[in-house]
Structure formats: structure tokens, C-alpha cells
């Protein structure tokens, strides 16, 4: 009897915590599904008049289309760049020892810890000087500040898990280096690369500060567009909620599939 009481209490606590977790997400989703008149008039706990017009607007207005397109390009560009450079560097860290390797590794991680706000002033000056201000390329490059260390850190872990015997066996079989890389190493660590890519995408997609400082108009990512639309008078909450709901979806799908890697990704982050 006592044990059952205890379990009921535990289950209640966990239940309350779950409600706390989902309340903000629930509220955002229902706001996205309410028509404008309902949002601004009274507080309703579920959409009395269900509508998809907010989502339709997010996909048709040129401002949002452009911002979403920029964000996609920036995030994909950052993922591609950091993965290519990161895989090479991680291979070096994992398979060779060289002078200063540990120090450099350490330095990379501290880079990840550094606040982006520190880099705002020099980045603004550098990218303005070299004429990359307000371009997608500038944001992609600036995001490597935190994404490259993360990529290397995660990939080294995955590569260390691949036994070195596999390398040797491949070379004994007469595989060239490129062929070994493409046919053996990359397929073996493919799940790791996928997980890494997700985190790189998430961090690049969420980033607001560098994106807002390095852009003026044409390269504006969706985070900056959202920020500007909430600073304006007469906020269109339905539209903002719709855009935000869309931004949450990929993460929710991902978390269900690769839960066990999540702690590792955020440890580095």
C-alpha cells in the first residue's frame, strides 16, 4: 500500500512536469491555428474557429519566403562547410599525433564556449571591410566559429570508435586512401555524421545575434525576420506562431529517433 502511494505521487510529479514541458508548445500551435480575430479579442484555450490561413501566409508572403530560403541556405551551407572541413580535421585528430594536437583541440573547445557577443564588433568590421556584409556567405563563415569545433568534437568521438584494424585491413587489400575514405570510413560513421549534421543545422538555424549584425536586408535569416516582426507595432501573432511551429517540427521528429546522442551533442554545445 505504501509503495503504491509512493508510485502515485511520483507519477503525478512526472505528469506535472510533462504538462509544464508541453504547455508552451501547445499554446504556440493553437495560436497558429486560430484566426486573427480570435487571437486578439479574447483568451481561448483551444481554437474555436480552426484555420490554416496563418500557415498559408507563411508560405506565400515574399518577406517570409525569402527569409526562410536564406535560413535554409545558411544552415545547409554551414552544415556542408563544417562537415567537410570537420571530417578532415577529425580524421587527423583521431588517427595521428602531431605537435600541439591536444592544445589545439582544447583551443577549439574553448572557442565553442566563447560568447558570440565578443565577436560581434570584429566580425562587423571584417566583413564590412572585405565587402561580404549582408551576404549569405558572411553568415555561413561566421557560424563556423561555433559549429566547426562542435563538428570536430563530435566526429572525433565517432571516428575513435572505428577500430584501426579496419584501416590496416583496407590498406593491405590495396585500397587507395581516397577509396578507403569513401568506401569504408564514411559509411561506417554515417550515423554519426547524420547526428552531427543535425546539431550543426540546429545551432545555425537558431542563431540570431551574428545573423542580425551581419545582415541588412537581402541576406536576412528567418530569426532576424521574426525579431523584426515582434518589434513592430501590431504584431501578427498568428503568423509568428505559424512560422515558429514550422521551425520546431524537424527537431521533434529528430529527437524521437536519436535520443541517445542528444546529451553528447549538447555537452559540446
Amino acid at each position: 500500500m505504501k509503495l503504491r502511494n509512493k508510485r502515485t505521487i511520483y507519477a503525478t510529479i512526472l505528469g506535472i512536469y510533462l504538462i509544464f514541458t508541453f504547455l508552451p508548445i501547445y499554446w504556440m500551435t493553437i495560436t497558429a491555428l486560430k484566426p486573427k480575430s480570435e487571437i486578439t479579442r479574447t483568451l481561448t484555450y483551444y481554437p474555436h474557429r480552426f484555420t490554416l490561413e496563418n500557415f498559408a501566409k507563411a508560405f506565400t508572403e515574399p518577406l517570409w519566403m525569402n527569409a526562410l530560403k536564406n535560413s535554409l541556405l545558411i544552415s545547409c551551407g554551414s552544415v556542408t562547410l563544417c562537415l567537410m572541413v570537420g571530417i578532415c580535421a577529425a580524421y587527423a585528430f583521431s588517427r595521428y599525433t602531431f605537435i600541439g594536437d591536444k592544445h589545439f583541440f582544447f583551443w577549439l573547445i574553448t572557442n565553442r564556449m566563447a560568447p558570440p557577443a565578443v565577436f560581434v564588433i570584429p566580425y562587423f568590421m571584417i566583413y564590412t571591410t572585405i565587402g561580404l556584409f549582408d551576404t549569405i556567405l558572411a553568415i555561413i563563415l561566421s557560424h563556423t566559429l561555433f559549429n566547426l569545433p562542435l563538428a570536430i568534437w563530435l566526429l572525433v568521438g565517432f571516428m575513435n570508435a572505428v577500430p584501426k584494424d579496419l584501416d590496416e585491413a583496407a590498406f593491405v587489400d590495396g585500397y587507395s586512401f581516397v577509396r578507403y575514405f569513401r568506401k569504408i570510413l564514411l559509411p561506417v560513421i554515417a550515423p554519426g555524421i547524420g547526428v552531427t549534421a543535425f546539431f550543426l543545422f540546429l545551432f545555425s538555424w537558431s542563431e540570431l545575434l551574428l545573423g542580425s549584425v551581419l545582415t541588412a536586408a537581402s541576406a536576412k535569416p528567418v530569426t532576424v525576420a521574426l525579431l523584426q516582426s515582434v518589434s513592430m507595432a501590431g504584431i501578427d501573432w498568428g503568423l509568428i506562431a505559424a512560422v515558429s511551429t514550422l521551425a520546431v517540427l524537424p527537431g521533434v521528429v529528430f529527437v524521437v529517433f536519436v535520443r541517445k546522442y542528444i546529451a553528447r551533442g549538447f555537452l559540446a554545445g
Binding site: 511520483y10 510529479i13 512526472l14 510533462l18 514541458t21 508552451p24 508548445i25 499554446w27 504556440m28 495560436t31 486578439t40 483568451l43 567537410m84 572541413v85 570537420g86 578532415c88 587527423a92 583541440f105 577549439l108 573547445i109 574553448t110 572557442n111 564556449m113 566563447a114 560568447p115 558570440p116 557577443a117 565578443v118 565577436f119 560581434v120 564588433i121 570584429p122 568590421m125 563563415l141 563556423t144 566547426l148 570536430i152 572525433v156 540546429l202 538555424w205 540570431l208 545575434l209 549584425v213 530569426t223 521574426l226 525579431l227 501573432w237 509568428i240 506562431a241 515558429s244 521551425a247 520546431v248 527537431g251 521533434v252 529527437v255 524521437v256 535520443r259 546529451a263 549538447f266 555537452l267
Partner: protein, 277 residues
């Protein structure tokens, strides 16, 4: 050889900017006006600048409050979670969701929740007699804490649960045979066993809360007044908002040193606990 592209990128993105910031911080540099070398003058000014000191203390207070809520709450939830079976697995997947919500969206979500008419928080609090308003300094600050708790407690739960699974079962059995009470088991077996994950969490969350920008900027933009202006917001306001590049650089550098010192401690403690990597 494999390493060259990484080195080039890091050089361009980290080394060069740090040198620039250092050089700016020694100059009086205001927008397009010609620079003038003034040495350490700006650092001296900074250490007695009430705005800087206030945002520093405010940040430390914010970090402390977040840590004091997130870690005990995470520990509590991790302890009562069912360790095995489907229920535990599903629960873990569900609570991990806030971690993958983009930061900007987190800020927007909470702004939505705290907006009068649009969000439910002001209406429900007024039923219990509290007139909530995001333009009240205390309310704004506490909303940010609550948002951070919502966003990052899942990380505490996940890391502590992983640590709990790794604890050897024999200790518990031995303690039970000795007739130890559950509080004593917790105090002398569980807590010492969780030292490493707790330490990691403590330092990571400290650094992340201390450098927070995006969520705060979306939710309160440092306001009302300067009630939620943390160091990163202060830095950006000086450098980009007011184009006081020299002074902003000095702030940046002190900010960076503060964070790096903590990271350094973190790395040393971590590598000692686990061996390199």
C-alpha cells in the same frame, strides 16, 4: 595536411578577431572617427562603470538562480524516473523536446505566453491575485529564469539519468544489507557517484546562462529599463547600438576572459575525471 582547412577557418574566425578586439580596446574608436591610442584607459573606465558592473552582477545572479532551480529539479526528476521499460523511454523522448527547439523560437514562445490577451500567463495569474506584466522588472527577470528552466532542465535530467545508470548496483545492495535508510543511501552512495555529471552540468549551465543573448533579446530586449540587460546584451548595445567600438571591445575582452577562465576550469576538471577525450 587534413588539418589545414580547419586551421585556416579558425584563424580567420577566431584568432584575427581576437587580435582586432584587443587592438580596438586600446583605442578610442567611435564609428568613423579617426582612432586614437589611449592604452589601458578604457579598462580603467570600465572597472568603475556602474552599467558594466550592474550587468555583470545581474548575469551572475541570473546564472545562480537558473542553476539552483535546474540542477535540483533535474536531479529530483531523474531519481523518480522509471529506469527501465517503455514508460521511461517514452518519457525521456518527450521531455527532451525543448532541447531541440531553436533558441529564437523559445524566446518567441515565452513572449507569446506572457502577452496579455494573447497568452495565458497574465490571465491565470490575475485569478490568484497577481497582476503579471512583462514590463514589470521583477516579472520580466523571473520569466527569463522560468524560460531557461523550461529549456534546459531536460539536459540536467538526461545527464543525471545517464550517471545514475552507470552507478554500480552492488553499492546499493551493500547499503541495504547494512540497513541504511534511503536518505543515507542518497547522501553517501548516490550523490558521490553523481559527482562528475553534476560538475559538468554545473559548469556548462553556468557558461551558457552567463553568455545568453538570443532568447533574452527576443523576449525582453534587455528591458524594461535595464532589468534584464546581461553582459552580452550590454556588449552588443555599446558596440553595434552606439558604435562605441573601442569601449565595446574592452567589454568584449573582459567578458571573454571571464568565460574562458571558467571553461578552463571545466576542461581541467573534465580531463582529470575521464582521461583526455
Amino acid at each position: 595536411m587534413f588539418f589545414l582547412p580547419a586551421l585556416l577557418l579558425v584563424g580567420f574566425n577566431a584568432f584575427v578577431p581576437i587580435f582586432l578586439v584587443f587592438s580596438y580596446s586600446l583605442h578610442s574608436l567611435f564609428a568613423a572617427l579617426p582612432a586614437e591610442y589611449i592604452g589601458l584607459e578604457q579598462y580603467r573606465r570600465l572597472l568603475s562603470d556602474p552599467e558594466f558592473l550592474e550587468s555583470l552582477y545581474r548575469g551572475l545572479f541570473f546564472s545562480a538562480e537558473c542553476l539552483l532551480i535546474e540542477i535540483p529539479l533535474g536531479l529530483g526528476i531523474a531519481l523518480i524516473l522509471p529506469k527501465k521499460g517503455l514508460a521511461g523511454g517514452i518519457f525521456m523522448s518527450l521531455i527532451a523536446i525543448p532541447l531541440v527547439v531553436p533558441w529564437t523560437t523559445v524566446g518567441l514562445m515565452w513572449r507569446l505566453l506572457t502577452q496579455s490577451i494573447v497568452g495565458p500567463i497574465p490571465a491565470s495569474l490575475s485569478k490568484v491575485g497577481i497582476e503579471f506584466s512583462i514590463s514589470n522588472p521583477v516579472h520580466a527577470f523571473q520569466t527569463l529564469v522560468l524560460m531557461d528552466v523550461w529549456h534546459w532542465t531536460p539536459l540536467a535530467i538526461i545527464l543525471i539519468s545517464a550517471g545514475l545508470v552507470a552507478l554500480p548496483k552492488e553499492f546499493y545492495e551493500a547499503a541495504k544489507i547494512d540497513g541504511a535508510r534511503s536518505w543515507k543511501i542518497f547522501r553517501h552512495v548516490t550523490l558521490p557517484g553523481l559527482k562528475l555529471p553534476l560538475l559538468v552540468l554545473f559548469l556548462l549551465r553556468f557558461i551558457d546562462t552567463f553568455k545568453i543573448y538570443d532568447e533574452v533579446w527576443i523576449l525582453t530586449a534587455g528591458g524594461p529599463g535595464s532589468a534584464t540587460e546581461f553582459l552580452s546584451i550590454f556588449t552588443v548595445r555599446l558596440g553595434i547600438g552606439q558604435f562605441n567600438l573601442g569601449y565595446g571591445s574592452a567589454v568584449s575582452l573582459l567578458f571573454l576572459y571571464a568565460v574562458l577562465t571558467v571553461s578552463f576550469i571545466l576542461m581541467i576538471l573534465l580531463t582529470r575525471g575521464r582521461g583526455m577525450k
